[in-house]
């Protein structure tokens, strides 16, 4: 009986378990093959850099769970990095709030277009991808915007707790825990799942469907905003040209974690692990390049990322097929 329940669980979370195993295997590979892989420096810079991607992946996960998609996360992050950089002379907290508010505003616009004007999510967020990029370029005058180093803003993206856990990643974990609670324990989170499963039914069941969708896009925007803050803080400048292709990384991370792209089912924990695994693959490639066995140009990164997405899709297709026929 117990084994059956356990097996059931494993079957239900097959993909998440698989991703976990791969992540561990990659870590072992790295530890065995490269000298500095396990160093505190590599760990903390890895976590620091990937905090941005984990954040937008978590936000994307909620949006995908409601059956939508948010293609604007990358350029919204870039826009937020610019506003945060402009606000940085005021101090760390105002800069952080400025970036966050920018992201939330973008999320609100997305939500309004989708829930009020009934524009399909991918069109609405594609439009805001353009608009955010345009706005970022306009207000930055097509230049990177240096931050005020004296105000302490850069500590957020450059310092770690005990040299191991970067502040950015620590904040990301706290945000992640909050989102997990929202999704798993709060009625509104369950409504998000219900909306992605069958929106018409959720509406007829009297659930606050519109509110749930609005919240998902707001959170995704907020996550993008926060990740823009980390971007500006970690690189010492607002980056209006960054963010193209980030949405793909986020979507890939979400899909790797076993979240259904059609909505209604998904896991934030698996998304976190998926995002870390994607980051780790590139971390390992960097080390491999360092060894000099082969040298892959930066352009290969795009190819690999695409190929990876393809593999994940193939796996999901396979899983759905065996499930349907079995």
């Amino acid at each position: 009986m117990i084994t059956i329940a356990w097996r059931q669980r494993l079957a239900d979370n097959g993909q998440a378990t698989g991703v976990c195993v791969i992540l561990l295997a990659l870590v072992c590979l790295g530890l065995l093959r490269y000298d500095n892989f396990g160093s505190a420096y590599n760990l903390s810079s890895f976590l620091n850099y990937n905090a941005m991607f984990v954040l937008i992946s978590l936000g994307m996960c909620l949006v995908i769970i409601t059956g939508g998609i948010d293609l604007s996360v990358g350029t919204v992050a870039a826009l937020s990095s610019v506003t945060a950089a402009y606000a940085s002379p005021l101090g760390l907290v105002p800069a952080l709030l400025a970036g966050l508010a920018t992201g939330l505003a973008a999320g609100l616009v997305n939500a309004l277009m989708i829930t009020r004007l009934h524009i399909p999510p991918f069109i609405a967020t594609l439009a805001s991808l353009l608009a955010a990029k345009g706005t970022a370029l306009i207000i930055s005058g097509n230049q990177t915007v240096p931050v005020d180093w004296a105000s302490g803003f850069t500590r957020l993206g450059m310092e770690s707790i005990g040299g191991l856990l970067p502040w950015s990643f620590a904040i990301t974990l706290v945000v992640g825990a909050g989102l997990w609670w929202l999704l798993e324990q709060r009625p509104i989170g369950r409504t998000m799942l219900a909306v992605g499963d069958n929106e018409e039914a959720a509406h007829l069941m009297g659930l606050p469907a519109r509110k749930a969708k609005t919240l998902a896009y707001l959170i995704s925007g907020g996550c993008a905003g926060l990740s823009g803050v980390f971007l500006a803080s970690g690189f010492g400048a607002g980056q209006p040209l960054e963010g193209l292709g980030w949405e793909l990384t986020a979507i890939a991370a979400v899909v790797v974690g076993g979240t259904l792209l059609t909505g209604g089912k998904g896991s934030l924990v698996a998304t976190l692990i998926g995002a870390l695994m994607l980051g780790l693959i590139f971390n390992l490639l960097n080390f491999e390049n360092g060894l000099g066995t082969f040298n892959l140009s930066a352009y290969w990164q795009m190819v690999i990322r695409g190929a990876f997405l393809f593999v994940v899709i193939a796996i999901q297709v396979q899983i759905t097929r065996t499930r349907n026929s079995g």
């Binding site: 409504t191 799942l193 499963d197 069958n198 039914a201 069941m205 009297g206 659930l207 209604g264």
Partner: protein, 530 residues
């Protein structure tokens, strides 16, 4: 005593279309109330107005004597009106508990959902309905009938004054229907009112106190069922005199005597991946063979296999003496097999395309030369069938989505008749069309038979089978269990055969020769189950 619900002079327009035109409905507390009418009479719209899905154009709704407007389904639920819709409106990937409790989850003091308590409540409500399942599993893992009961459980678990059931029995078998009726009686004894929508008159008489009859978007009258003979009820629904109907019957099938001798289709011990285990049957030219059985007995699966949608895993099919193993619908169509599928909306019409385009879709191969459609021939064909089948449409260019259900069905029938099929498979051809269109469809099918066509018909309406088919093959759990011959076939005989089907599953194609039912063989199908 004030009525629980009093809807007065309700009007509802969608753009220029009038859906409700002076409808009214009065339901007393603790009453089981039937809402009946032909398709298109406005029942569903009236329900959606009552539950706040649609805003009404004019009129008044009183709840317990107080005027009220529901701004959405949520408000209606809070006011004590719960609804079980015709198409199941649940979230399949979520657990049974969540489907029942969503929106009313018990919470911990710190705001999290109290899952143990939610599961317990779900279990106890389902227990009252006689369902014992693991409420933690996703709803999609359970059968449609269980899902239906979960929907009912959701409705009754809330403190409700009125439960609306829109065609709740369409996917339930006899036992489940009986259970549902017990639940309805239980609700009634607790003082809860039920609004019951169904096409099945037997059910209405079994469980309802009174009925509101609608026609053309307006309420015709309200009758106490115990004082109303069936015929009067049907007459009122159709807007015809009762005597007319009695004279002609409700189906238009007439003469059953044909001399069919040439065998067109032979199916032997057929099994498929999708639930068909061992089916044998035979259809001769010019003959209509019926498939009888309960939901899930494997009737539609026979149709799917014959039309190339499911692969056969064993057994064989022969069409006009030749081996027949279609791999795609195209193979089937090329071999002269046509399937009018059960779900008109999903598998039949292409709503944005015109009547003409919908009609000629499977025929384009022969209507075109080197890939270019010959438009004159296409128009002539469409014209001919609109005329011959008396399809009511403004023109052949009208989008099919704007036609009534019965006329859509006629266009689809024309689509298949135009391919000159040797075998026409009809899966519930008259479901969801009004009685007038139903009779016309039956007439068209019989004309087709008279010209030598063969028909395999699936129908849940025993009357249709008993009056139309030369033979009826009874299906049970993927097996063809026995064959009943007509003439001599009555509705009662059919019902009995279906009800006792599980007892005589043995060899496939066995005629009803009066032999005593054999003991049921071991349930061998469980090994092959997925």
């Amino acid at each position: 005593m004030t009525a629980l619900i009093d809807m007065r002079d309700i009007h509802k327009r969608f753009g220029g279309t009038v859906a409700l035109d002076g409808a009214s409905l009065t339901i007393a507390p603790g009453e089981v109330h039937a809402l009946i009418g032909q398709n298109g009479a406005g029942k569903s719209t009236l329900i959606k107005v009552l539950t706040g899905v649609y805003a009404l154009t004019s009129g008044e709704i009183l709840l317990d004597g107080q005027p009220i407007t529901f701004s959405g389904p949520r408000r209606a639920q809070q006011a004590g009106v719960a609804t079980i819709y015709q198409e199941l409106n649940l979230v399949p990937l979520r657990s049974v508990t969540e489907n029942m409790m969503m929106g009313f989850e018990p919470l911990h003091w710190w705001g999290g959902i109290d899952w143990p308590r939610a599961h317990r409540r779900a279990r106890s409500v389902l227990g009252e309905l006689g369902v014992d399942i693991d409420v933690r599993r996703p709803l999609s893992e359970y059968s449609t009938a269980i899902q239906q009961l979960v929907a009912i459980g959701r409705a009754v678990s809330q403190r409700v004054k009125l439960v609306i059931m829109d065609e709740p029995t369409s996917s339930l078998d006899e036992r489940e229907v009986a259970r549902l009726f017990e639940v309805i009686r239980l609700l009634k004894s607790q003082g809860t009112s039920v609004l019951f929508v169904s096409h099945f008159l037997e059910e209405l008489y079994a469980v309802c106190d009174c009925a509101t009859i609608m026609r053309n978007g307006a309420t015709v009258e309200q009758r106490t069922l115990s004082e109303t003979p069936r015929l009067e009820l049907v007459a009122s629904m159709l807007g015809r005199a009762a005597a007319d109907i009695q004279a002609s019957g409700t189906t238009s099938f007439r003469d059953l005597s044909i001399d069919a001798d040439e065998t067109l289709l032979e199916v032997e011990d057929l099994a498929t991946t999708k639930g068909l285990r061992q089916a044998s049957l035979e259809v001769r030219q010019g003959e209509m063979v019926g498939l009888g059985g309960l939901l899930g007995a494997g009737r539609s699966e026979v149709a799917r296999a014959l039309f190339g949608l499911d692969r056969a895993t064993q057994g064989e099919m022969r069409l006009a003496g030749r081996a027949y193993a279609p791999r795609h619908t195209r193979d089937a169509i090329a071999a002269g097999v046509a399937l009018l599928s059960e779900d008109r909306k999903v598998e039949g019409i292409i709503p944005g395309m015109s009547v003409r385009e919908n009609m000629t879709l499977p025929l384009l191969g022969s209507l075109s030369r080197r890939g270019v459609i010959q438009r004159r021939r296409e128009r002539e064909l469409a014209e001919h069938f609109i005329e011959a089948l008396q399809i009511k449409t403004a023109s052949m260019e009208q989008p099919i989505g704007q036609l009534s259900g019965g006329n859509q069905q006629k266009v689809l029938l024309a689509r298949w008749l135009a391919t000159h099929p040797r075998l026409l498979i009809l899966d519930e051809p008259t479901r969801g069309v009004d009685i007038g269109a139903k009779r016309e469809i039956q007439r068209i099918v019989q004309d087709y038979q008279a010209r030598g066509g063969a028909v395999l018909m699936i129908s849940s309406e025993f009357e249709e089978l008993a009056e139309g088919a030369q033979r009826v093959v009874i299906m049970h759990e993927g097996h063809a269990t026995r064959v009943l011959d007509n003439p001599g076939l009555t509705e009662d005989a059919l019902v009995t055969a279906i009800a006792t089907a599980q007892h005589d599953r043995g060899d496939g194609d066995r005629h009803d020769d009066g032999a005593p039912p054999q003991a049921a063989p071991l349930p061998d199908h469980q090994e092959t189950a997925p």
